[in-house]
Symmetry: C2
Subunit: 232 residues, 2 copies
DNA sequence: TCAAAAGTGTTTCTGCTACACCCATGC
DNA sequence: GCATGGGTGTAGCAGAAACACTTTTGA
């Protein structure tokens, strides 16, 4: 069933840089799949695939994500469109890259979809060589995450719905690669007033249990509307 | 000469949001073309066109820009890729949008390219209705410009190579939509040390002539390298 | 009782804000 | 000589940074 056009057209794909954060060892992780077929058979690559004709690009990205993680309602934003000649040995392929943030706790063990031999979380400082220009894409995603995390509250997307202040601090320290002062960090967040104190505490920890908080999206949007600026 | 593929493929285009700044009346301008053919014949639209098969996407954007403005070496950055179903009545068309910044002084009168009846600068607060989803694209470009101008020195791209401090201040006031204090603005810039004082002054002004400055790109990149952060 | 992390205030210092007058030039 | 924008310094204040000890819990 062939499709014919008057002028040549590139193929259109999506690729996803999926981040997760493990507070226990302060490591930022990326989801990779191992390719089942050539080109780059057995190489690790970003999850992705072709955009269907009757499907929005972002929908395609969500579909691919669901295949690998069985998760829906994931935080997802467009990152950049890669279309240099020769980036795919099969011919002209333009790829719209997205980045996604998911709470590691909720993420089940990743599933190898039909086009993958395996799917696995990799710590961003222990990455294997990647297929195509996927390393460029991944690095750009990382850069975007680091840039955006400090003036938009997207970091919360990497934590469970309820989290301790120390986990939040560990997240920021990891993503930004800095050391933060506990008291100043808490003071700043308290002043912003976008955290809701719950009555719950950590369970089964071998030390004093930390109180858990939730991010107050409503309040945040209201504050934004009034000209507030989230920062650090 | 038809081209045939096993699966259907969207057409790929580029669209450019081209900004310029007129310090004399503090207005931010956008370049629009008037469409020569259907769909949206006679409507105003962003300059753009199809991406050739053997051409990088950014190269396509530069080519389109050169056709309308006869300028090369323009500041150009990818903005977002628009691909919702139904955004073009002719069928599935995915458009990679770019935004460009050019110094109004250097820009000659825009030229209507082959696909355009006219090309004209519009002040962003007096825009005509636009074809396709081009208003969305334009607004996103504006948002990006406003967001980026405060922590990356891209504003200089909208000024001549040599400019007065007042022009620079007017630019920031216009883009950000705020009023700035002259002394504080100058103090901040002086402290950053990314401006080179020239020995030249404004010509033919009916008042004291302002000294002209240049942006020091070298110095800026060196400072960035040392962990400096441009802001405001 | 020990280990491990949670939780909590004050002081210092730096950087932002607010603010007004004289200067040079063209008409 | 007048109108127009160019150019310059200081004082007060708010917010960031630095910093150490007590509390709770499980083992």
């Amino acid at each position: 069933m062939p499709y014919t056009y008057e002028y040549p057209r590139p193929a259109l794909t999506v690729d996803c840089v999926v981040f997760a954060f493990d507070p226990s060892n302060k490591s930022l992780k990326v989801l990779l799949i191992q390719r089942l077929a050539d080109p780059f058979k057995d190489s690790w690559a970003l999850p992705g695939g072709f955009v269907e004709m009757e499907e929005d690009i972002e929908t395609a990205a969500k579909r691919e994500l669901k295949e690998e993680t069985s998760m829906e309602n994931i935080f997802l934003e467009q990152l950049y469109t890669f279309g240099t000649l020769g980036r795919d040995p099969r011919g002209r392929v333009v790829s719209v890259a997205y980045y996604a943030l998911i709470p590691l706790q909720k993420a089940q063990t990743p599933i190898a979809a039909s086009d993958a031999k395996a799917a696995k979380w990799f710590s961003i400082d222990k990455l294997p060589p990647l297929a195509f220009d996927h390393n460029d894409i991944l690095q750009l995603g990382l850069q975007r995450l680091r840039g955006k995390v400090r003036y938009q509250p997207i970091g919360f997307e990497l934590l469970d719905e309820k989290f301790s202040l120390s986990d939040l601090q560990r997240l920021y320290e990891t993503v930004l690669g800095v050391q933060l002062d506990k008291r100043n960090f808490r003071k700043k967040l308290a002043k912003m007033g976008v955290l809701i104190e719950t009555d719950e505490y950590q369970q089964n920890v071998p030390h004093r249990a930390a109180r858990l908080y939730r991010f107050d999206k409503e309040k945040y949007h209201q504050l934004i509307h009034d000209g507030f600026n989230f920062e650090l």
